[in-house]
Amino acid sequence: MTSKSAAAIDRARSQGRSALIGYLPAGYPSVEDTIAAGIALAENGADLIEIGIPYSDPVMDGQVIQAATTEALAKGFHVSQVFDVVAGITSRTDAAVLVMTYWNPVVRMGVDEFSRRLAEAGGAGLITPDLIPDEAAEWMAASDKYGLDRVFLVAPSSTAERMQRTVDASRGFVYAVSIMGVTGARTSVSTAAKDVVAAAHGAGAERVCVGLGVSTAHQVREIAAYAEGVIVGTALVAALRDGGVDAVGALTKDLSTGLTQETGA
């Protein structure tokens, strides 16, 4: 089965670099702004874009993203608007656009219905922070039916057995959580990230992307040395909060300088 995420990562690889993945929450500060910021991400070097669905109980998110998604909900964001965001970005860029969502909004809409609409909007697939393969039977079926990528997470705490199961269940790429914690910028990326990526590769994953805590081009460069992709979230949300769409573009451009190893640092 073809994978839009894998194709985007492979395109970066053919250019001799890792892929950059940028996260933005849908509806923050408005649906139109999310689309504009997503386009700015793509035009300034992001290969994949991760659109988060604001949710009432985001247990894997730190304060910056919580504040943004809480604001989006307070302004009346509805889950179905995420498809407008995805379509708005995919119609104007070549970036692969994934949706990052806690599982209950998908359950509520219906897994099949949600998947159908995501595929229709041109979406690449889902990143599911609170869905493990053990509970994902319905999603496995729907993602096969609609040709969507299913990006599960692996963590420093994942056992070899769980790593294998998660790698086997994933399509597109595997999301390696760099540290034990929630989203949020950190001054350094833990050495655990490298071990998680190695374990995922060892289990047969061809594409592993690292997220959580990454906020600078320097950190991007560190991770790009051993992973196929680097995921940045909180730093982009803070840039959007403080400087609008232009700031997202500028930060993306800066982050993308870390993707290649030969830039003479």
């Binding site: 949710y55 009432s56 109980d57 985001p58 247990v59 894997m60 730190g62 304060q63 919580q66 809480t70 909900l73 509805h78 889950v79 599982w103 209950n104 909004p105 998908v106 359950v107 509520r108 809409m109 922070p129 609170d130 869905l131 493990i132 053990d134 509970e135 599960f152 997470l153 692996v154 963590a155 420093p156 705490s157 994942s158 056992t159 769980r162 998660t166 959580v177 034990m180 914690g181 929630v182």
Partner: protein, 439 residues
Amino acid sequence: MADAPSGNADNNTAEAFLQGGSLRHAPGPYFGNYGGRWMPESLIAALDELEETFNKAKDDPEFRAQIADLNKNYSGRPSLLTEAKRFSQHAGGVRIFLKREDLNHTGSHKINNVLGQALLAKRMGKTRVIAETGAGQHGVASATAAALMGLECVVYMGAEDCRRQALNVARMELLGAKVIPVTSGSQTLKDAINDALRDWVANVDNTHYLLGTAAGAHPFPAMVRYFHEVIGEEARAQILEQEGRLPDAVCACIGGGSNAIGIFHGFLDDPSVKIYGFEAGGDGVETGRHAATITLGKPGVLHGARSYLMQDDDGQTIESHSISAGLDYPGVGPEHSYLSDIGRVSYEPITDSEAMEAFRLLCRTEGIIPAIESSHALAGAMKVGQRLAAEDPASAAEKIVIVNLSGRGDKDVATAAEWFDLLDKNSAESEIGKEGEQL
């Protein structure tokens, strides 16, 4: 002691499913379509470790002896089974018996679970426990267990609840716990659970999450039930000893559902015993301001389990409302969702007003101040008694209803005094009660 025949229809599917085997020891992770582990991968290893430790411990005579010793010599178990003769006159004249969890150390059933989990934390080599709390009852119980066993304790509590329950915050701090006010999301119990989970992800190496109810990801629902099963086992033995027969009905209040699953456990396999769970109906289920999760919720996933859930059309969690902080939770333990679907337990809402009337009645007729949570079970028992009497007036006086009196009402005096307008308008207490009422 032959089981009494089931007098009527509303639980009569019980016999059909009982042919499939016992309901009492459902091990999880699934209860029918409910339960499971809807959790970040980062926490799965910790849940596996907890499950393995728990499974070994419950088969270990030494662990069982430790629990039995703590229950007897620390908590003060067995708790009494008290006949409420004067209160019974307001319940159709049936005989009401109270399972006196209010007499336990720390004043509620919560102590059963925290002692068990704190022992497991020690077995896992964890040095720190974290807990969520609404009004503070589980936080106080957790701080108590942590003090007893020499564990560091951090309690997450909604910022608004901290203000409303300043004395319970002080109580936790006296016991050596650190209380962290939660300012994220709606700043209530569900957000306290979210922040506790965020803490757990970051500190799982040395930290056990001491979840306070029979909800959450496997193994929590089955494990928390296990530590509360003593309630039902004692109640069953006590009523058989005192009256020579099983009760006609058992009643408990339901927030997350830990006290209820504990007492239900003793009677689930007795088809003649009708079982009732009473949810918080708040201002009335028709107002939207309630916490009647099973009555009006829809299945979804929250805090690690699939269960009934108060949610909007987008799957966003809806704020619950109840005068009782301990029932003010938009989710419910997955085993209750299953027991509702198969018809073994009937779940019904009780409004704030009905609960407070039962609260007042128990105070005046029995000299017992119940927790407002437990008052929902008392109000429900009054309805059950009146129904039993209406069906068969001649035998009403022979019917037996057991109510789990899950906690005492000392913590609720300010709220009750305000409700019944007992405070001088200029008193400091009046201010506290009034502010508490506004939520």
